[in-house]
């Protein structure tokens, strides 16, 4: 709990994992801003970050310092919240291996502040710890091997002196893993994989299995395909201190072409609960076994203690890329509910006996063949981190409503090059806007209201105790909606598109501030975002054409905006 002491009450940042429902990512307990007064919200500061890349992560507020990690090549900025104009206290730029730029611009690397230190991961595979006050490097460990396609693109979790992080690089055929480093020294404590033999994965006596065979991480793959099987842990990791468990999702299997990896492809596209001490797996839920559409299950989760069908239960809520909201008992791993929050046709509802969604045979994918109109499209229906408001009981999911044509081709693993084997064309779901903020009634398991957007939403949402929902669009509009009704109450046009979640904090003067990082780097998600040619319908995995209405004015680059009531 020492971490909370650094900040006034109500501060939320990317990870803490406490079980209090109030301390969830995406929810601010501050209630100064209300639907009545949010109309008067004004920008009070705007600061260029100095980077023209894709800013996917929010600023992290720790006490009176805001930490911003720019996209690759990274620079960590520490801003002084006390002074007007937010001057930079110190900045740190680690040495960057420029080859990492080939991993793409969809990273959401963000810093984590804890115990007077700041921890962050870099796209070129380093985990770095700095002193939060001075910016001096405490340790710098290279944990991901870029030459094998591994990268780090998610914020780490700091829990009990351990730094937990997982790799990305499913598109490059990197075998997924989650590792724990010592927060003091950066030494590797343990490392568990998403594919392979039980020992490497962490399947042992403590694993909640129901007569499962051994080494599913090998037997559910074509021979030796698990060695380049993907399943990276490229989303946020959550921690339940009381239970001593960390929760994370695993990414989609590699290659995207399913015929080269026949079988259920354990343990990709699913949710894990692991023990913090040694990473031993406690339970696993397969969300999209033998993932045909490169969806994965790495979307941000929420840990909630709330009532479920009459009784209080410890829940893990997982809005998945396959378009369903999964509700699990996070201690036992039991699946309580999986309902679709937008129209999909790749699956036909939950099979309660199997605990997985039924596939639609019309959307089967075969190597060498083309399947058209698959909804949802890669990379999934969830565009940004969902936010939960305990006040309204609604889960606010920034959604993408795109469908795709997928052509699967045979591919070869060449280290350092993408290992996908599929070409995509994408288009908006028929009859629907391509983006939406979906307000999902968690208790009733249905949609409460939807706010349509002209483009898919790529940034997370922020819900406040004052009854507002904030989110940004790729066109650069930061909006505030009424959390109960979804009415738009306030908007602000930023100079760059927004693909990061907003945050809210209480400043030194007691006012409630809302801050957001803007900057998409051209076409969001593409490292060469400014050099996309939409005459190719498969550019940027097909999304370039689907998002062709994205305005392409010269962007101002990365900007931090801070708003408050005057």
């Amino acid at each position: 709990m020492a971490c909370l002491a650094l900040a006034p009450a109500g501060v939320v940042w990317a990870s803490d994992g406490g079980t209090a429902p109030e301390a969830q990512p995406g929810f601010s307990t501050l209630d100064q801003l209300t639907p009545a007064n949010v109309g008067g919200l004004q920008p009070v500061a705007s600061l260029p970050t100095g980077s023209r890349g894709a800013h996917g992560a929010a600023p992290v507020i720790a006490g009176d310092t805001a930490f911003i990690l720019t996209p690759f090549p990274h620079e960590l900025l520490a801003l002084d919240l006390r002074a007007p104009g937010l001057p930079v206290k110190w900045r740190y730029r680690p040495a960057a291996d420029s080859m990492a730029a080939g991993q793409g611009g969809g990273g959401r690397n963000a810093p984590v502040a804890e115990g007077g230190r700041v921890f962050f991961t870099t796209l070129d595979g380093h985990a770095i710890a700095l002193d939060a006050a001075t910016g001096v490097v405490l340790w710098d460990m290279r944990v991901a091997d870029l030459a094998q396609g591994e990268t780090l693109r998610a914020p780490p979790l700091v829990a009990r002196g351990t730094v937990l992080l997982g790799n990305g690089g499913d598109d490059f055929g990197a075998r997924g893993w989650i590792a724990a480093l010592s927060a003091e020294t950066g030494a590797l404590l343990w490392k568990r994989y998403s594919t392979g033999p039980d020992e490497a994965v962490g399947i042992g006596p403590g694993f909640a299995s129901a007569g499962q065979e051994a080494n599913l991480g090998v037997t559910t793959w074509s021979p030796s395909a698990w060695q380049h099987g993907g399943g990276g842990v490229s989303g946020p990791i959550l921690w339940d201190a009381a239970a001593g468990l960390v929760f994370h999702g695993t990414g989609y299997p590699a290659p995207w072409n399913p015929d080269q990896r026949r079988g259920d492809n354990r343990w990709t596209s699913g949710l894990f609960a692991r023990a913090l001490e040694d990473g031993a797996a406690r339970w696993f839920l397969p969300v999209s076994p033998h993932d045909l559409y490169a969806l994965g299950s790495t979307t941000p989760n929420l840990l909630l203690d709330r009532e479920w069908q009459g009784r209080q239960r410890p829940l893990l809520v997982h809005p998945d890329a396959n378009g369903h909201v999964y509700v699990l008992d996070r201690l036992s791993g039991a699946l309580l509910s999986a309902e679709a929050f937008l129209p999909v046709n790749a699956t036909e509802g939950l099979d309660p006996a199997q605990g997985v969604l039924r596939r639609n045979p019309a959307k089967q994918v075969r190597s060498g063949g083309t399947t058209t109109g698959i909804c949802p499209a890669h990379p999934g229906a969830v565009g940004g981190a969902a936010a939960y408001s305990p006040r309204t009981g609604l889960l606010y999911i920034p959604a993408r409503r795109l469908c795709m044509d997928l052509e699967a081709r045979d591919t070869t693993f060449i280290p350092g090059t993408p290992f996908t084997g599929a070409n995509l064309r994408q288009m908006p779901a028929p009859g629907l806007y391509p983006g939406a903020l979906v307000a999902w009634d968690l208790g009733a398991a249905r949609v409460a209201w939807t706010k349509d957007e002209a483009l898919p939403l790529e940034g997370g949402a922020l819900a406040t105790a004052g009854g507002l929902v904030f989110y940004g669009t790729a066109e650069g509009v930061l909006k505030a909606l009424d959390a109960n009704t979804g009415a738009e109450l306030w908007r602000f046009q930023a100079a760059s598109g927004i693909i990061a979640p907003p945050v809210s904090y209480q400043g030194p003067d007691g006012r409630q501030f809302v801050a957001v990082l803007a900057g998409t780097g051209g076409f969001p998600g593409a490292a060469a975002g400014r050099e996309i040619d939409i005459r190719d319908a498969t550019a940027a995995e097909g999304r370039a054409l689907a998002m062709r209405r994205l305005p392409q004015p010269p962007e101002a680059g990365g900007m931090l905006y801070v708003f408050a009531l005057p």
């Binding site: 991993q103 052509e407 090059t417 993408p418 060469a528 050099e531 996309i532 010269p554």
Partner: protein, 177 residues
């Protein structure tokens, strides 16, 4: 031989000797020639340079020979170029369709890019492709971003359609950003 017959023979001979370069299929290069093709002279900045001497001696085939271009197209798919560059539209790598070249449009620059890699994510393929294959890819990529329609350029693939075929779509330059 009558004058008419003589004229006819001469014309026929000329036609045969000027055998259509576009259609020639060299299925295998001699090893010394293949080795010599690697010897490009690159400018110190890494952009531009002089092709190897044997290249014009071969007739500069990689840009204008239909078979070489189709081989380049095959290699473009087989070596995962699509993962970063899509079908020329770009993804994590820049677009190759739009006639804008970070390191210049000439064949030597593109050859060096593929062979030695470039900063910001382009891997080096010198250990994964033969020199001839790299030249075939170079020629094909140039035809993707060409500004004039060429008869030798490949036509549409038997695949999911992503864009007009190389022989139908000259590059248009993107708006300045």
């Amino acid at each position: 031989m009558t004058a008419k017959a003589r004229a006819a023979t001469l014309i026929l001979l000329a036609l045969t000797l000027a055998a259509c370069k576009r259609e020639e299929r060299a299925t295998r290069l001699d090893p010394p020639v293949a080795e010599a093709l690697d010897k490009v002279a690159v400018l110190p900045v890494g952009i531009g340079g002089r092709p190897p001497e044997v290249y014009p001696a071969l007739g500069s085939p990689y840009r204008s020979n239909a078979y070489q271009l189709s081989q380049g197209k095959r290699l473009y798919e087989w070596f995962n170029c699509r993962g970063c560059h899509a079908d020329g539209g770009g993804n994590t790598g820049p677009a190759l369709l739009d006639g804008w070249w970070r390191y210049g449009p000439d064949a030597v620059s593109i050859f060096v890019s593929i062979r030695d890699g470039r900063p910001n994510g382009m891997p080096a393929f010198r250990d994964r492709l033969t020199t001839e294959q790299i030249w075939q890819l170079t020629g094909y990529i140039q035809s993707m971003g060409a500004t004039a329609i060429s008869v030798a350029a490949p036509s549409r693939s038997d695949r999911m359609q992503s864009r007009p075929a190389e022989n139908r779509a000259p590059a248009t330059f993107p708006a300045p950003r």
